[in-house]
């Protein structure tokens, strides 16, 4: 029966379980919410300077593990856009938006929804809606991405 389920979905589920386990470790051991934008943003604007070491250790893990896995895993392209205007405006929007909303897919999405947090659920609904409309507009109407 598993022949009919695309491998990507199964890898997605396995990867998701590993992501959630990381969040569980960060919560149960350090008492912190695993939110990528908060951990990084606190270093960038200085609001998290008291916990800079912990933040840097987390980010080191995020960057390092894919380096170790890459050679033994099926290599893939990330299919990233090479359009500078798209990359820069997207990066600015993600940076500003996640800091104003105080969270992103990991903090509001994974950690918030699992806590039945209304803020996490509302944020997730709005960023998915905005993302869907953006793809509709820029892919199907304007043909930019």
């Amino acid at each position: 029966m598993f022949d009919s389920i695309p491998a990507d979905w199964i890898w997605g589920l396995i990867g998701g379980l590993v992501i959630g386990t990381g969040g569980a470790v960060y919560l149960l051991a350090n008492g912190r919410i695993m939110g990528a934008s908060g951990i990084l943003g606190g270093l960038v604007d200085g609001s998290g300077r008291n916990s800079a070491g912990e933040r840097l250790a987390f980010l080191a893990g995020v960057v390092l593990l894919p380096i170790l896995l890459n050679p033994i895993y099926r290599p893939f392209s990330t299919h990233a856009s090479e359009n500078l205007a798209v990359l820069i405006s997207a990066g600015l929007l993600v940076g500003i938006g996640t800091r104003i909303a105080n969270g992103c897919t990991s903090g509001h999405g994974v950690c918030g929804i699992s806590r039945f947090s209304l803020r996490g659920i509302v944020a997730t609904v709005f960023y998915i809606l905005a993302g869907g409309l953006t793809v509709l507009l820029f892919r199907h109407i304007l043909g930019v991405i």
């Binding site: 600015l92 940076g95 947090s117 709005f126 892919r139």
Partner: protein, 144 residues
């Protein structure tokens, strides 16, 4: 020191999971958002998979303290407000444009090539500018 070791372990699991799940592939993320095109449901499996261990973890926090001491994060006192909605809409627009959110943007730095560094640089700039942007908006009295 213990804090940093657990943080490194958590970050490593996060980075490995993002890599294994394919969520650093912008095509899969944009495919999830592309309801009117060739829709790709993989992201829902990743989200579902990630929420499961966290459901258990939140349950385990009840009546306990974090391993290294301190207290668990309290529920946000703030209700949903316009910052949450406006910020999430801006974030979602950028997410849709490039197919990258902060976690995968960091996890893909070693192998994604130069476009990922351009996105990452712009994201850091956006994060750095936000406090000043917020002051400017609040100063005009137009913020909620």
């Amino acid at each position: 020191m213990q804090r940093k070791i657990f943080a490194f372990l958590a970050g490593g699991l996060f980075g490995a999971g993002l890599f294994i799940s394919g969520m650093t592939d912008t095509k899969k993320v944009q495919g999830w958002l592309d309801v009117f095109g060739d829709w790709d449901p993989t992201l829902a499996f990743v989200m579902g998979g990630a929420i499961l261990p966290m459901l258990i973890a939140w349950r385990l926090t009840q009546g306990r303290k974090p391993l290294v001491g301190g207290t668990f994060p309290e529920r946000a006192k703030a209700e949903t407000d316009s910052d949450l909605v406006v910020g999430s809409v801006l974030f979602g627009a950028g997410w849709g444009l490039a197919g990258l959110c902060p976690g995968p943007a960091i996890a893909s730095l070693s192998y994604g090539g130069w476009p990922h560094w351009v996105f990452f640089g712009a994201m850091l700039l956006g994060m750095a500018l936000t406090p000043a942007l917020r002051r400017a908006v609040d100063g005009r009295g137009s913020a909620a």
